[in-house]
C-alpha cells in the first residue's frame, strides 16, 4: 500500500528522521492557515517561502505544477484551489492523471546538496538493505543504469541493525565528514526504525538534502507498506486512499480478484497469477493483445466468476473473452456451471472462448456443449483457444 508524502512524513517524524516543518491541507482555507502556522514555526521571517505540494501516488509532479513556491497565505490558498479537486497528469500517472485531494504546505529551503537514501528488502539474500547515493534528486533507476557504482548497498542485521562501519560508508558516499557522520548515522538508523516499526516494503528519501544553513532533512518521502502486514497496523491501513487506485482494480481487489487493465481488446479470465500472465503471453504470441490480466483466485465459485465477467465487461474495448482454467481442487464442471450461470445472468454477448483442463474436464466440457450457447466456444488446447479468440476479436 502506497502512502502519501504527508503520511510518510508523519512516520518519519515519529521515528526521528528530520523533516521540514509542514502541514497537510484539504481546502484552500486550510492551506492559508497552514502557511501561517508553518511560517511561525520557522521563526516568522518576512522572507519565509513555503512549498505547496500536491499529494498523489505518483512522482514527476514538480514538472507539471504540482509543487510550487508561495510567499503568502493568499498564494498558498490560490494554488491549493488550483490543485485540490483536480486531476494531475505526470509522466508516471498515465494520460488520465490522478486526483489531488490535499496539499502539503511545508518550508521551502534552499538545498546545497541532494542525496538519495532508501531501504528495501533484498529478496535473494532475505535481508533488508540500505541503498545510498550521492546523486539525489533524480530518477534513481537512471542513476543505476548510467553508473551503478554511484549507489552503495549496506545490509541491515535484524538484531544489530546497521553497523557503525556501514553508516560511516553511507556518510562517506554522501561526502560527509566530522559531526555530519553522526547526523547521517542517526538518520540511517531512524529510517530502519521506521521501516521495521511500520512493516514497510520500501522507504525512499529522494532527496535527503543538506540545506544552505547546514541542516540535513528528508525533503521528499515515499513509503510503501507491506500489504501482508497491514493486519498488524489497523491505524495505517485506515490511511489507504482509494481514490488513488484504478477504479476497476480497486473493485476487483475488494472481492479477492486480482485485475490489471491493459491496452488490448481480448478479455482474460484465468485462475492463478502465473497462468494468467502466461495466458496474456500466448494471446500476444498468437497476434492479439490482451485487455486485462485477471486472476479469479483459488476458490472460484459461481459468484466469483460472475464478478470477474462484470469487471472484464466494464471495459468497453473488450471484443472477445478467453477463459483459461486449470481445474485442480476447483473442478471443471463447477467452473462450467459458473460460466453458464454468470454469462446468462449478465447477458454477455461478446464471444467467449473457454479452455478447461484438469479435474472433471470431460463433465465440464459436456456441460458447455450441451448448453448450446452460440457465443460460447469450448476449445481443448490452449494454443488453439488463443488462436480462436484472436480471430474472433479481430473479426469484430
Amino acid at each position: 500500500m502506497k502512502l502519501h508524502e504527508y503520511q510518510a512524513k508523519q512516520l518519519f517524524a515519529a521515528a526521528g528522521i528530520p523533516i521540514p516543518p509542514g502541514l497537510n491541507a484539504r481546502t484552500p482555507e486550510e492551506a492559508a492557515g497552514a502557511f501561517e502556522t508553518v511560517k511561525r514555526q520557522c521563526g516568522n521571517s518576512p522572507s519565509f517561502v513555503a512549498n505547496v505540494k500536491a499529494q498523489l501516488h505518483a512522482g514527476g509532479r514538480s514538472k507539471v505544477g504540482g509543487v510550487v513556491a508561495v510567499r503568502s497565505p493568499q498564494e498558498a490558498a490560490e494554488h491549493a484551489k488550483r490543485l485540490i479537486g483536480h486531476q494531475l497528469v505526470t509522466k508516471q500517472t498515465g494520460p488520465e492523471g490522478l486526483p489531488v485531494t490535499s496539499v502539503l504546505v511545508d518550508e521551502r529551503s534552499t538545498l546545497a546538496v541532494e542525496w538519495y537514501l532508501a531501504l528495501t528488502i533484498d529478496r535473494f539474500h532475505a535481508e533488508p538493505v540500505v541503498l545510498a547515493s550521492r546523486q539525489g534528486g533524480m530518477d534513481i533507476e537512471e542513476v543505476a543504469e548510467a553508473d551503478p557504482s554511484a549507489i552503495i548497498r549496506e545490509p541491515v542485521d535484524l538484531e544489530r541493525g546497521i553497523s557503525d562501519a556501514g553508516c560511516a560508508r553511507i556518510a562517506g558516499t554522501f561526502g560527509c565528514t566530522g559531526g555530519e557522520v553522526g547526523v547521517v548515522t542517526q538518520i540511517v538508523r531512524a529510517t530502519w526504525k521506521a521501516f521495521e516499526a511500520n512493516d514497510a516494503s520500501l522507504i525512499e528519501i529522494n532527496p535527503l538534502g543538506r540545506l544552505k544553513d547546514g541542516r540535513i532533512l528528508a525533503v521528499d518521502a515515499k513509503v510503501t507498506l507491506d500489504d501482508n502486514a497491514l493486519f498488524r497496523h489497523p491505524d495505517l491501513a485506515a490511511w489507504r486512499d482509494e481514490c488513488q487506485e484504478h477504479p476497476l482494480e480497486l473493485k476487483a481487489s475488494r472481492i479477492g480478484i486480482s485485475y490489471v487493465g491493459l491496452d488490448g481488446n481480448i478479455g482474460c479470465l484465468v485462475n492463478g497469477a502465473g497462468l494468467a500472465m502466461a495466458t496474456n503471453d500466448i494471446i500476444k504470441l498468437s497476434g492479439g493483445t490482451p485487455a486485462n490480466f485477471l486472476d479469479v483466485g483459488g476458490g472460484a465459485n459461481v459468484e466469483q466468476v460472475a464478478n470477474a465477467f462484470s469487471i472484464i465487461l466494464s471495459d468497453a474495448r473488450v471484443k472477445a473473452i478467453l477463459v483459461n482454467i486449470f481445474g485442480g481442487i476447483m473442478r471443471c464442471d463447477w467452473i462450467a456451471e459458473g460460466l453458464l450461470n454468470a454469462t446468462q445472468r449478465l447477458e454477455v454477448t461478446v464471444p467467449i472462448v473457454v479452455r478447461l483442463q484438469g479435474t472433471n474436464v470431460e463433465q465440464g466440457r459436456r456441460l458447455l456443449g450441451d448448453a448450446k450457447r452460440l457465443n460460447l466456444i469450448s476449445v481443448d488446447e490452449l494454443a488453439d483457444a488463443a488462436k480462436k479468440v484472436v480471430e474472433l476479436a479481430g473479426a469484430r
Partner: protein, 301 residues
Amino acid sequence: MSILVNKNTRVIVQGITGQAGAFHTEKMLEYKTQVVGGVTPGKGGSAVHGVPVFNTVQEAVKATGANATVVFVPAQFAYSAVLEAVDAKLPLIVIITEGIPTLDMVRIRRRIARTPTRIIGPNCPGLITPGECKIGIMPGYIHKPGSIAVLSRSGTLTYDAVYQLTQAGFGQSTCIGIGGDPVIGSGFVDLLGLFQEDTQTEAIVLIGEIGGTEEEEAAAFIRARMTKPVFAFVAGKMAPKEKRMGHAGAIVAGGKGTAAEKCAILQAAGVTIIESPAAIGQAVKAAFSSKRPIRAPSGSR
C-alpha cells in the same frame, strides 16, 4: 531417488483442524502420503480423517516420528507456527499459507540460517514426488513418476506444465512450487543443486516469472554447476512495467527482471527457452526424441 520427499516421508499438518488443513489432509491421504499427525493448539486428543491431533509440534514429532511438516496456519499465526517447527528440528517445512508479512519471512530465514532446516514456500502449492508423497495442494492425479523435475514460481501454471509433460509421456521425479512471495524459504538455486545430484532426474523444467532475480541467479548457477538439460518458460512478457500482476513477487522494477531479459540470460547459460506456455510438454518431447545434444555447451565449461 527423487528429492526432499519420498514414500518414507512422515508428515504432520499444522493447522489440521482448519478448513484448508482438513480438506488437504484428506487429499494427501488419498495420495497415500504418510500423514502421521496434525497440530492445532487446544485441539490435542482429537482426530481429523483418522489422523491424531496434538497441541504442539514437539508432541506430534515425539509421538509420530514425523520428519516433515506442512503449514496451513493463517498468516497472522504462521510465524510462530513455523518457529515451533524449527525448534522441533523438523528438516522440512512446507508453508502453504498466503499473506505472511515479508519481515516475518526475513526473521524466519535468519533463524534457520546455519541449521539443516529447509523451508519450501510460503504462498506455494507445495511439492510432490509422484507415486510416493504429496505435500501440498496440487491435484495429485495429473502427475506420473518419471525423470523430469519441475521447479516453478507459480501454482496453476505448474499444474498445466506437469499435465503437458504427463500427456507427452514424460513422468516427473519431484515437482516443487517455490512460492510467489518476495522472500521465500528455498529459491531455484537452492533446489537446482539437489536435482543435479539426484540420480532419477534427467532434465529440469523451470517455470519463472517477471520480477525478482530468481531466474538470473538460477542462470549463473546453471552455467557453473549444472550438466543436466534445463528447459525454461518465463511468464509475463506482456506485463506492463511497474504493474503488479497478482503475486507480490511479480513486479517489474526498472530495467531488471523483465521476461525478455530473464529469457536472454537463461539462454546464454545453455537453457532451452520455451516461448509458448502451451508448448512445455512438446519442447521436452522434441528434445528427447532428437539425437542432438539437448543442451548447448555453454562457454564456461
